[in-house]
Amino acid sequence: MSEKLISGAEYMIDIRNIKKIYKMGENEVRALDGIDLKIKPNEFVAIIGPSGSGKSTLMNMIGCLDTPTEGDFYIDGNMASKLKDDEQAFIRNKKVGFIFQQYNLLSKLTVEENVELPLIYAGVPQSKRKEMVKTALERVEMYDRRHHKPSELSGGQQQRTSIARALAARPPIILADEPTGALDSKTGAEVLKMLKELHSEGKTVVLITHDNKIAHEADRIVRIMDGKIVFDSAVDGDKSEVNV
């Protein structure tokens, strides 16, 4: 496995005509059917589509959790299609921070330990880990509660912890899958505000959602339907339709 990853590519995410085809008995399901998508560094993109549209599959690709049946894609200039499990894990660890709808914190670990986990897997030495965990937790105002278990926290606090975890290893991409889906509108708004802040700090933020209103918080909206991109435009009205 290549332990060296490049960075500073022109596109943070560069997807070139990928297809994901599942065979279910006789039938072929084209979850992704020729997707071209280029996302520059420090963009804030919302990917929107109804369930079954293929947006989850696309998110799995960007998050290096899945590989396409056809086509290639690059994460910050690194070829990420056709990788083995462990190579995917490596890119995930270095380049992508996940934020999930259900927070997905490990219930047996404390806030601090949850945030530390990606750093452990990245092989960061312990002394440095402490500092990085502190920075991340302070960033989301959860440092005071670092010794709590997830079950002792509110939904908003858990989501903030999961944002801290996504930030801890300082990846360039933040991949948020329905991050406000399980939250009330007030805390949801706080989380969105936080994502915007991250964007303004230089992260590339990709937000997956089915909610138009939330999608409009982003700078660019990509709409998916039946495995194809049907709409791709900047939110401020500067629309450029592609791949309809």
Binding site: L65, D85, D86, F90, K94, F98, N104, I120, A122
Partner: protein, 392 residues
Amino acid sequence: MNFSQAFKMAMKSISSSKLRTFLTMLGIIIGVCAVIVLVSVVQGSTGQITESIESLGANAISVNLTGRNSSKKITYDKMDDLIEEYPDLIKYVVPNMTSSNAMVKRDNENITTSVTGTNSDYMNVNDREIMVGRFINSLDTENRRKNAVVGTYIVNELFGGRNPVGENIKINNEIFKVVGVLEAVSDGEEGSNDDVVIVPYTAGRTLFKTDVIRSYSVWATTSETVDSATDAIKAFLYRHFRDEDEYIVISIASMMDAISEITDMMAILTAGIAGISLVVGGIGIMNIMLVSVTERTREIGIRKAIGARRASIMTQFLIESIVVSSMGGIIGILLGTAGSVILGNVMGINAFPKFYVMLIAFMFSAAIGIFFGWAPANKASKLNPIDALHAD
């Protein structure tokens, strides 16, 4: 991810479900405990047997004449030629005639005991001491003097504990004079080595109802020459009898070898039986670990999503099963040691487990953790993170 991190993670998930961990361990605990107790008790009793044989002497060679072909006999004088013929190999030739139920009488007191007819070298080959008087000497044997040496049991029973030297006793109605008392070696109990009367073999002709000495204790010069001495005696007897069936020559050392071979077999056999329970314990671990992997599918998915590689997941689960099985091993060793000591005390043997037995038991239980933890750990490491994330 390094080992100590993986260890910490494994400990965390083990300690978060203590009852289940304990129940998982139970199979290993019982298995290791059984192995330790069985092996220790077998080794302890073996040790006791070996000790009592060893007390017969590492130089000793037992010669038995079967007398199948009664036309040929060998006299003591002829047997004694062994010493002249092989002075480098053979030191003593001690005749051994025994009458196990002779009637010994003094005044109105009488008891049944075992009478041994031998010569003065008896003292050299049997680790005995004289307490009072003297042992029978070569003049006694040459002149067929009816002198006797008695054990402390006889002194207590017939003389009420008084010094019997110089007094007469009747053995099967023949009068013998007591010339000495043997130092007690086994608490002076009935039937023990203190319940004996020793007479010159020459004087016991009517007592033993035969002239023929069928049993000898031959003493090799050193414990290293025992084997050559055994061969020499066989050659000597073959020259005399021309028939290998006429005699049995066995050194104590070779008896020891035979016995230790048998007891080693026993130890392996018992350990093997107990080992089966260890394997059953291992299967228990595998079962629980497989359930645990299924239960923790989501956790594994999260770990993978944030960058855990296969090896990290594999290590974590493998360490969990190794820690569970080795902790079970350690508890089993402690319980087994306690059990062996208690059982040893009840049986009157030293059954404290040998260190290497504990070490093997520990390593075996750790190996069970690896062996039976492998499949679940492998399953966990190969979970697809997408499926795992969507698991309940």
